[in-house]
């Protein structure tokens, strides 16, 4: 088949006059409205975080982090993410392998169920663990007898974090691996590779960008989760407060500089996440593009 010359269709955004483009004043107006909207909802809030954090200078900013309670909240946040992210990573890869590489009945239902935590309010995500493990919950009496504490303790925070970040890796990998099909794995098997070798040498290199992207998003959400963790934490200062919960306490105590200082860390994490995401997408697109 004859491929039309790419030059017959110059880039949409070129300076060439095009029959199907808006007049410049329309273009400028639309860009202007979009920028005003994004300004009020994205750029100004973003700028406000850093402005407020540095409102009383750098010394006040860094003083916020010398607080023992603040450091404890950072530590707890890292612990929760360090447990939740690897668990959901293993789950995501496992689920994507089962769903993408095999045909079975109920596959679409399974995909929907995996997505379920996305459509559950964070507050409810915390509540359901209280119902299971709280003092009046199903396992409450049994745990009391065995001196186990989940709710208002670190395990509850970890569980709630796992729940809200549950689908991230899986939902990145499933469509990606479905699109890739299974011919490459089958080829590896015919060449004598074991299942495990096939997975590490064929599958993982093919999904690495999607995997990384899923992990980045999963981590951002794990460190930033507020509602679900708030329900199960009990807000014990220095013990069961994660960074977002600590921000709330500082803010409600009118300690704005400290609140925004901690918030600025999480904001930087968000910006790094977005940067990594853009980088990963750029790399994935570069690998997808046919090489000349």
């Amino acid at each position: 088949m004859h491929a039309p010359s790419p030059l017959a269709h110059p880039a949409k955004s070129g300076s060439q006059r095009r029959a199907t483009a808006e007049p410049p004043w329309v273009r400028r107006t639309l860009i202007g409205i979009a920028l005003v909207f994004l300004g009020g909802f994205l750029f100004i809030p973003l700028a406000a975080v850093f402005t407020e954090a540095l409102a009383k200078g750098f010394s006040a900013y860094f003083a916020a982090f010398s607080d023992r309670v603040t450091m404890a909240s950072i530590e707890l946040t890292l612990i929760a993410a360090a447990i939740a992210v690897p668990l959901n990573l293993v789950f995501g890869v496992t689920a994507a392998w089962a769903i993408a590489k095999f045909d079975f009945y109920g596959k679409n239902l399974l995909i929907t169920l995996i997505d379920l935590p996305f459509s559950v309010s964070p507050v409810i995500s915390g509540l359901i663990y209280v119902l299971l493990f709280g003092a009046q919950g199903w396992f409450g009496p049994w745990m009391m007898d065995h001196d186990l504490k989940i709710i208002f303790a670190i395990p509850g925070i970890v569980l709630a974090t796992i729940f809200v970040t549950f689908p991230f890796v899986a939902r990145e990998l499933i469509p990606l691996m479905q699109a890739q099909g299974r011919t490459e794995e089958e080829a590896a098997l015919t060449l004598g590779a074991t299942g495990w070798q096939t997975f590490w040498r064929v599958t993982v290199p093919n999904i690495k960008w999607g995997l990384l992207y899923g992990v980045i998003l999963c981590n951002a959400r794990a460190m930033g989760e507020f509602g679900a963790v708030s329900v199960v934490s009990g807000h014990i200062r220095g013990r069961t407060n994660t960074m977002p919960l600590h921000i709330e306490i500082l803010y409600n105590e009118y300690n704005f500089v400290a609140a925004f200082a901690v918030a600025s860390l999480l904001t930087l994490l968000a910006l790094v996440t977005l940067g990594l995401k853009t980088w990963v997408q750029f790399n994935a697109a570069a690998e997808d593009a046919p090489s000349h």
Binding site: M1, H2, A3, P4, S5, L7, A8, P10, G14, Q16, R17, R18, A19, T20
Partner: protein, 368 residues
Amino acid sequence: MSVEVRHLTKTFGKFTALNDVSLRVESGELVALLGPSGSGKTTLLRIVAGLEFPDAGTNPASQVLYHDEEVTNLPASQRRAGFAFQHYALFRHLTVFENIAFGLRIRPKATRPDDATIHRRVTELLQLIQLDPLGNRYPSQLSGGQRQRVALARALAVEPKVLLLDEPFGALDAKVRKELRRWLRRLHDDIHITSIFVTHDQEEALEVADRVVVMNEGRIVQVGPPHEVYDQPANAFVFNFLGNVNLFQGRMAGGRVSTGDTEIFVTDESDATDAEAAIYFRPHDVRVTTEPMGQNSIPARIRHANLAGPLVRLELERIDNQGRFEVELNREQWKTLARQPGEQVYVDLQRVRVFAADRTIPVNDFSI
């Protein structure tokens, strides 16, 4: 209505798509723009349609004229030129009927026909394209050939003054292609609308068009009726582009051309003396014999014979310089020849064209 372009120049960045192109298409003509990809034929068609605009500020100024009136700066929506796209560009959220009716429904109230008129007009067009039972289908439910016919009907619905088709059969398979281009020829004979179509397929251009415009590298290289451009190609490029061709490199001096150990008399207008020459001939413009017919005969060995099809295609290798070329014989001639692959024959060139050698032109596999 006649269509004329004058001194069209169009660049995309550093690439010159059209370089000072002028062309006049008379009312009711069916003209083919023929050329390889990148030759500028699609750009020319899009400028005629008002989908693209020529570079401003060139000297002399680029102009597009419809019926001798200038429309150079009029956008597509105000030109009433019907345009059919290579990939049809049907509106997939509308039925076949609504696709065809689109151009009528969007007219301003003052000139918009009433519903009954639109219905009648669309029904007529559905009959014309022989798809009357399929008005309620969506484009996704049609075959490629059917989609292209709907695209044509949609363009015709607004009663365009000129019909422009960009590779109209390019995306179809060979059989449908043939049917559809005969259908287009008949359609044009019935409605006589000025039509220009773009193609890279010489067979299509030669079969369908009243006149063929051969383009290369942003310029028009030859314009003429199909038999004329085929029989009297203006240069080596056109010869090469229209049909299979063999090329021998040689030298020419005083009306004689030599290639390898053979000298050929040339009746062509070859005023150049002692220059490199490119000798072109078509595979069927030869005589193949078992004994030399004269001094002009080129001895060659049969390397391969393709006996499938109405013609026998021989791949030959010259004895003097091992150059390979292709000839075509009918089955009768092949029988009379009674030679097998590996055996030697003599080839007389019946019709050749000699051009001063131009190495920039791509030559086929049988060149020396």
